[in-house]
């Protein structure tokens, strides 16, 4: 926001007329009457005026000015209007459930006006009057970004960050910078899963088999370890964010693309229901929409297998996590919209998220004894790169600690992925509220097994230190006399997935947090 007085002095010094002769929508005058600005009112959010003036769009604090003119809002009758647009993965169930919880938490009452199956308006009222109208449009991630850029939506519901063309479009349309700043808020997690009917004997597939199946290379179940029967594919439409994410993360690494022969379903519910009834069908859906079908586990050549469970999604140990994000524009949102976004990161919202079938990001712990499978793999991996002594050190260091669900993973080098960036804030908030007072937090860095062990160890330690520093920086209000933070690294000693694929290596490059 531009400070009113400063802005005014700037434009007046430039010799521009501070009032215009053309009849304008509103005239905002400072309390002392010294400064006056005119323009068309773009919005009033209950606190701030956004006015289109000859100097461009300006945001002015409502407390500092009085408004005159036909465009002035009725200050006592202000209703926050907020439009949500984007992926149906969020618009169908998650956002309505969160709005309902927000309403009951704030002692408001709710009416949902249904225009169609994918378009509703939620009317939030207190005992006096209507306070806000939240319009919800279930479309796709791309359309959510398009609506945000065109200023037809205030909050986009998305499964990914904006791509280059979207960022450029936002820039050229003047709707603001989509890339810098913290625009994406991960509200919940979901996972991309392949589903089959309960009776299908193939229960796990490698990433390569998954790619071959959905690209149409696999025509018979016999090709992937099943009966000799044709594979019937079901997918969401190609405009869906889930479709795009699956192509990018599963098909592209194997230079494949989705077969055009798959049956497309706009509704994932319908897709799951059809797959659940057909023993030879396989479908692409999300964990929250598995319905009555069975999710397929993802296996690696070295014997690791990852089921898309809540715990595995939270720790990102399952390779195909799908963060569900609220993406906000580079302009100020009404107070109630900001409060709603804040609410989505609260413990009360975590419960709602779980109930709605999604994975929340609340920090949970699992003790050392539950790591048996990983330790077994670690033992089999002992060799010149990982000597037995190193494994013993790992066990000695971690055996009396618990692992936090908060895990940090890197896109490339030391850049954290979006879910991990959210985890930094979550952990920082927990530190600030004293949840870990009297505890010791160990940031343990791990690497993949590509290349020699010593540089891997150094890189693992560097990543652990980087994460610890970022958490420390984000937790400005935390009392670090009460909680002890430290780093350690174990390199390639405790793999989570097979290192023979890129996704497996990405799973292994991580920083875990162990608490005592």
């Amino acid at each position: 926001m531009i400070p009113f007085r400063k802005l005014f002095s700037t434009v007046c010094v430039l010799g521009l007329s501070c009032t215009s002769g053309v009849a304008q929508d509103v005239a905002l005058t400072s309390r002392d009457g010294a400064i006056r600005i005119e323009g068309d009112l773009l919005s009033y959010d209950g606190e701030f005026y956004r006015v289109d003036t000859v100097y461009g769009a300006l945001t002015l604090d409502g407390q500092g000015v009085t408004c005159a003119g036909p465009g002035c809002p009725d200050l006592d009758a202000y209703v926050a209007e907020v439009t949500f647009s984007g992926t149906r993965r969020m618009a169908d169930v998650l956002v309505p459930a969160l709005i309902q919880a927000y309403v009951s938490r704030n002692q408001l009452s709710l009416r949902r006006e249904v225009m169609s199956d994918t378009r509703s308006t939620f009317i939030l009222s207190d005992t006096d009057r209507v306070r806000a109208r939240f319009e919800l449009r279930g479309t796709t991630t791309s359309e959510g970004f398009a609506d945000l850029i065109a200023e037809e939506a205030d909050i986009a519901l998305v499964l990914r960050e904006p791509n280059v063309s979207e960022a450029l479009m936002a820039d050229s349309s003047g709707s603001g910078d989509l890339v810098s700043g913290r625009r994406a808020r991960v509200v919940a997690l979901d996972g991309m899963v392949a589903v089959t009917a309960a009776g299908q004997q193939v229960k796990n597939l490698s990433m390569e088999q998954l790619a071959a199946t959905f690209s149409g290379d696999v025509v018979s179940w016999a090709d992937i370890g099943g009966a000799d029967a044709p594979v019937v594919l079901h997918t969401p439409p190609d405009t869906a964010g889930l479709f795009e994410a699956f192509e990018e993360r599963v098909l592209e690494p194997y230079s494949k693309s989705m077969t055009p022969d798959a049956v497309r379903h706009a509704s994932l519910e319908e897709l799951s229901d059809i797959v659940a009834e057909d023993s030879f069908a396989i479908g692409l859906t999300t964990l929250s929409e598995v319905g009555n079908a069975d999710p397929v586990r993802i296996s690696g050549s070295c014997g690791f297998e990852q089921a898309p469970s809540i715990a595995a999604l939270k720790t990102e140990d399952y390779p195909l996590t799908l963060p569900l994000m609220l993406f906000t524009p580079a302009r100020r949102l009404p107070l109630m919209a900001r409060e709603f976004i804040e609410f989505t990161a609260s413990p009360a919202a975590d419960l709602v998220i779980r109930r709605a079938g999604f994975v929340d990001q609340a920090i949970t712990t699992s003790d050392f004894h539950t790591q048996g499978d990983r330790l077994a793999h670690a033992i089999t991996a002992v060799g010149p790169e990982v000597p037995l002594e190193e494994l013993k050190r790992l066990v000695e260091t971690l055996r009396d600690r618990d692992r936090l669900s908060t895990t940090f993973r890197f896109q490339v080098g030391t850049r954290l992925d979006v879910q991990s960036s959210e985890n930094i804030l979550r952990l920082a908030r927990a530190l600030e509220t004293g949840s870990f007072d009297g505890k010791s937090l160990l940031f343990a860095g791990f690497s993949d097994s590509e290349g020699p062990a010593a540089p891997n160890m150094a890189l693992a330690l560097r990543r652990a230190r980087l994460v610890m520093d970022q958490v420390r920086e984000a937790a400005a209000a935390a009392d670090f006399d009460r909680v002890q933070l430290s780093v350690d690294a174990f390199g390639e000693a405790l793999p989570m997935a097979c290192d023979d694929t890129e996704w497996g290596r990405a799973i292994n490059r991580r920083v875990e947090v162990w608490i005592r």
Binding site: V93, E113, S116, G291
Partner: protein
């Protein structure tokens, strides 16, 4: 001998009517001789003298209803002779159901509104002013209120102890032709559907599923189908939706369906996404 006696008695009776002296003579002639033994008289306990406590004596109350009350009461009975008093009786039934009996003898054919758990539906009373119904409970302690016209209101409370074994959703609709609420589930998940109320008035549709610990995880798809009619095409209508899990209300909100437009009369609107599906996770 017998003949002599009977004629003597006949003669004696006829004489009694005329002379007591004659009667004494005849009676003596008929009396059997007394035994000669004397039997002592039983001794009775002495009688307690009865005292009346003047101070405790209360004034005599007339327990008979006054004439005006009798007339009023007679006026307050229905054509079948039942007093007009409206009664509401209810009790819990197995499977978290509630039996409700309403008897308003002087209000035959009238509409009764039954409200519970924040929802309401309408029923018509019979010719005798009675109606019985069974409701699926939506709260553990159910406050039930019935209203007949503006003046008559009765309330009762039922404790439904087995409600934690059910998940239910309910849709109240204010008018004829509500969107039809349905739940489709895989074979291993039994789903019951109830419709409360007369079709011409306010109704509640309920989809119920038992939470059996043995039940496998699964999803019950909820959807609404509305047939566009001349009654509902032009105006938006608002109902109320409640979701209950094991006795706890998880969602409650008003639901307005926009007017579909009268050019769509005869069409059916399918709303699959509006209501959150019931998900039963594995434990």
């Amino acid at each position: 001998m017998g003949k002599v006696i009977s004629s003597a008695i006949g003669a004696a009776f006829s004489v009694v009517c005329f002379s007591s002296a004659w009667a004494d003579t005849v009676a003596l002639a008929l009396r059997a001789p007394l035994p000669s033994v004397t039997v002592p008289l039983p001794s009775l306990p002495p009688l307690e003298p009865v005292r009346f406590d003047q101070t405790a004596a209360s004034p005599v109350q007339d327990v008979r209803p006054s004439l005006s009350a009798v007339i009023a009461k007679q006026a307050d009975i229905n054509a079948f002779g039942f007093p007009c008093e409206t009664t509401l009786k209810s009790h819990a039934l197995p499977n978290a159901m509630i039996a409700v009996s309403i008897f308003a003898p002087c209000k035959p054919y009238q509409t009764v509104s039954i409200s519970y758990a924040g929802l309401e539906f309408d029923l018509s009373l019979s010719m005798t002013g009675a109606t019985d119904t069974v409701l699926p409970a939506l709260t553990r302690v159910t406050e039930l209120t019935v209203r007949i016209g503006p003046d008559t209101k009765r309330s009762t409370r039922v404790d439904v102890s087995d409600i934690d074994g059910f998940m239910r959703v309910a849709l109240e609709w204010p008018s004829e032709g509500p969107p039809l609420l349905s739940g489709t589930a895989p074979r291993h998940m039994p789903v019951d559907r109830f419709i409360l109320g007369d079709p011409s008035g306010r109704t509640i549709q309920i989809v119920s599923h038992p939470l059996d610990p043995e039940t496998q995880p699964g999803v019950i798809r909820l959807q609404m189908n509305q047939t566009v009619t001349a009654q509902n095409c032009a105006e938006a209508q608002t109902g109320r939706f409640v979701q209950m899990m094991a006795g706890f209300t998880q969602q409650v909100y008003d639901l307005t369906l926009a007017a579909p437009g009268c050019d769509k009369i005869g069409h059916s609107l399918e709303l699959k996404n509006i209501l959150q599906d019931l998900k039963l996770a594995s434990n």
